[in-house]
Subunit: 228 residues, 2 copies
C-alpha cells in the first residue's frame, strides 16, 4: 500500500526530478502544474502528502496550503513547501499557514526524499492528544470521554482506540490490516474478521446518538469514517 504523493510544480525540470525520485522510492506519485488541477486531485484521491511549489502560474502555493488547512478533510495532510526564496520572512509566512516542512531550491534530492519520508512516517497525528470532533461526534483522548451531541457514550477500551484511530483519519478507507496495525499493534497475529466484530461493537456503542451511521463499510476495501 504505497503512499500517494501529489506534486504541485510548474517547472518541468523540477517536477520530473521530484516525480522520478518519488517513484523510485516506491511511492505512488503524480504531478500537476497548477493549483486548479491540484484541487481536483486532492478531492478525488486524497493524497498522503503534497509537495507544493511556492510560485505557481495561477496562484501562490501558500494560498493553496491555507485552503487545505481550512478544510477539515485535509487539515492534517502533510505539506512540504518547495521554494526558491530563502528569505526569513517567507519562512515565517510559510509556517504560519501550517506548512509542515520547507525545502529551498536548489535542494539535494536525497534531502528532499529524507524529509518526505520523515513526514510520511509521522503523518499520523495520533501523537497529539487534542480533542477530536467529526460531525458532532466528540472524543477527548485526555479524559477518555466520548460524546455524540449531548449524549455521553460508553465505549470499551478497544472500541475507544478504534474510534480514535478512525477519527484521526476521516474519509479514508482503512483496510482491515491497516486497522489491526494501527489499533491493535503492528505485529499482532489476529484474524481480520475480528475487526468486523469490533466495528460492529463500536457501531452499537455509538447508536444512542445516531453516530453509528458514520462508520461506512467499503465492500472489498475496509471501513471508513464518513464526515457528514
Amino acid at each position: 500500500m504505497a503512499a500517494k504523493i501529489l506534486i504541485v510544480e510548474d517547472e518541468p525540470a523540477i517536477a520530473d526530478l521530484v516525480l522520478l525520485h518519488c517513484k523510485h522510492a516506491g511511492y505512488q506519485a503524480q504531478v500537476v502544474h497548477a493549483v486548479l488541477d491540484a484541487r481536483d486531485v486532492v478531492d478525488e484521491t486524497l493524497p498522503d502528502l503534497v509537495v507544493l511549489d511556492w510560485m505557481l502560474p495561477d496562484k501562490p502555493g501558500v494560498d493553496f496550503a491555507r485552503e487545505l488547512r481550512a478544510d477539515e478533510r485535509t487539515r492534517d495532510l502533510p505539506i512540504l513547501m518547495l521554494t526558491a526564496r530563502a528569505a526569513e520572512d517567507d519562512k515565517v509566512r510559510g509556517f504560519e499557514t501550517g506548512v509542515d516542512d520547507y525545502v529551498t531550491k536548489p535542494f539535494s534530492p536525497k534531502e528532499l526524499m529524507a524529509r518526505i519520508k520523515a513526514l510520511l512516517r509521522r503523518a499520523a497525528p495520533e501523537t497529539s492528544d487534542a480533542p477530536l470532533e467529526v460531525s458532532g461526534l466528540k472524543l477527548d483522548p485526555i479524559s477518555h470521554r466520548v460524546s455524540g451531541g449531548e449524549q455521553a457514550l460508553k465505549l470499551g477500551p478497544t472500541e475507544f482506540r478504534l474510534l480514535r484511530f478512525l477519527m484521526t483519519r476521516p474519509e479514508r478507507v482503512m483496510t482491515r490490516q491497516a486497522l489491526l496495525d494501527g489499533v491493535w499493534g503492528d505485529h499482532v497475529f489476529i484474524e481480520e474478521r475480528t475487526v468486523d466484530v469490533h466495528v460492529r461493537r463500536l457501531r452499537q456503542a455509538l447508536e444512542p446518538s445516531g453516530h453509528d451511521r458514520m462508520i461506512e463499510t467499503v465492500r472489498g476495501g475496509g471501513y471508513r469514517l464518513k464526515k457528514a
Copy 2:
C-alpha cells in the same frame, strides 16, 4: 506565562527552524550554539525544556544531558534530544542518560512541536500551594486539611498526596504508572495493584461527604477525578 525553551544547536538552519516554530507556538525560546553557553543560560534562567543536539562543537550533547541529570536543580528538566544518527544503539545510549525524548533528523516540525508540547505537559508543576477545589471538594496543601461541603474529612498521608495529585489534574485519565510516578515518586518499584488499594482507601475516606463517587475507574485506562 509562556514556557521557556532552550535550544542547543550549532547548525543555523536547524536552530532557526526550531526557534521559529517554538516562537510561533507561543513559547519563549532562545538558541545557543555550544554546551558552554548552554550551561550559562540554564544557570541564569532555568528553562522549562531543553532541545539538545547530539553533536555540538565543544562537547557531545549526551554529556551535557548527563550533567543536567546530575544536578539536583535540573534533575527533572525535560530534555529532547535532536540527532542525525538513526542507529538504535544511539537511542539506547540517549535514554540511558535520562533523555526524555528523541527525534532524529530530518524531522517534521509538526512532530517536533507535538513532542515538545507533550513533554511540557508531562512536567506540569505540582508547585502551587494554593487551595484546591473541585466540585465542592476542598483541599488545602498547607494545612493538609480536606473537606467535602461542610464535612471535614480525615485522610492518611498517601491518600492525601493521591487526592492532591488527582485534584491538580481533574478530568484526566491517569494510568496506574502515572500515579505511581506522580504520587509515590518517579522510579519506585511498587506493584501497580497497590494503586487500586489506595484508591479504595481514598474513596472510603471521602465517603462521608459523598465525594467518593468523583473518583471514576476507567477500565483498561486507570483512574479519573470527575469534575461535575
